[in-house]
Symmetry: C2
Subunit: 217 residues, 2 copies
């Protein structure tokens, strides 16, 4: 299990500073350049992150909906190791994206935010494209308005991983409490956003989450 | 009917130069800062466009899937008049996005790319949020792999406009031939991308499309 921090900020300097501290402290495994950060600064946000943390795994949360090859190329040229395409995108786009990602040495995360019938779409996606991770995801707006978080997705994520032999990632409102429930579960990447980025002491929270996940003493 | 040019490029200087020529020539009504351009350069692409064409209608093609308020605020602060949210996004996100857009004086386009049952989703979207345009859209990857374009959507767009009393936009592979078929049809905004941006003489093609649409002599 890996811990990914989602930097869903719109202040790039703050995001870079936080990533550096968490990465140097050995507190996170994957640095996510969030979609709002990409839309605010473009690929400069990804390259800044690569420069600040040369040895880190960097995930560009593109949430691509069209023009799959073009977008994944941008992420690659700017130093990303992983990038996301939307499960809601046409399968043609998911295929273009994942084929190009594979050529360029990036991993593909298919982000299931907004998809209602998840398992049906997992089958369609896996029939059409070779992807690395199925990303189950409760979005920020849904967390806030419906008071749910990614806990509701743990069983489904494990079941998809076992049944389809594909990596799974889990995102959406994960905090130290959720982390305890995730301990020992068969999830490849756990994504934490605001619980860390909005904390007064982000390193302290990241350490607690890492401990609760069973990733450190 | 308005003509919108979609600048789906990844070279910002070229996009700005083309926008300026088309706008000064009176050949287009709306300048679209395309999603790949936003992901490459961030909101700088939108502000560059605003500076180069101060009086133009500028559409930021955000294709927002989450964090609706944050993203529409970015577009507004950088000078956009219109912005897009995905129909595939959770309705909570579409509502947050369109409420914030309305407050900030932007128009909301809901982009239906990737949505299979369009009319059912139109109803859900209009029940949940006050939006300005339903954007019917055949994406680039689908155009290329399935050899279809937005002509297949003309009847559906007109029917949605009439039935739900909402603005409609049409995008996806529109060229001079499609423009002839669109003449006299009840579509609010026709979006043209590669037919203009990849043309040897973009102004010439834009003029031909404008004529074919019946927007100039």
């Amino acid at each position: 299990m890996k811990l990914q921090v989602a930097l869903d900020l719109t202040n790039l300097d703050a995001a870079v500073d936080l990533a550096r501290r968490l990465h140097r402290g050995g507190l996170i495994d994957v640095i996510e350049v969030g979609t709002p950060l990409i839309k605010a600064y473009g690929m400069y946000a990804v390259s800044r992150m690569r420069v600040c943390c040369p040895s880190a795994l960097i995930f560009a949360d593109l949430k691509t909906m069209d023009a799959g090859r073009i977008e994944v190329r941008l992420a690659s040229e700017n130093g990303a190791n992983m990038a996301s395409v939307l499960a809601a995108a046409p399968v043609d786009t998911i295929r273009e994206f994942s084929d190009e990602a594979r050529k360029l040495g990036l991993s593909t995360v298919v982000d299931f935010i907004g998809v209602v019938n998840v398992e049906e779409r997992v089958k369609e996606v896996l029939n059409a494209a070779k992807v690395d991770y199925i990303g189950l995801h409760v979005g920020i707006d849904v967390q806030d308005s419906r008071k749910v978080n990614a806990e509701v997705l743990i069983d489904e994520a494990e079941s998809i991983k076992r049944k389809y032999n594909v990596g799974v990632t889990l995102a959406g409102g994960v905090d130290a409490g959720t982390a305890l429930k995730l301990r020992g579960r068969d999830i490849d990447i756990v994504v934490v956003g605001r619980a860390i980025t909005s904390a007064e002491k982000p390193e302290g929270v990241a350490r607690e989450i890492r401990r609760n996940l069973g990733l450190m003493q």
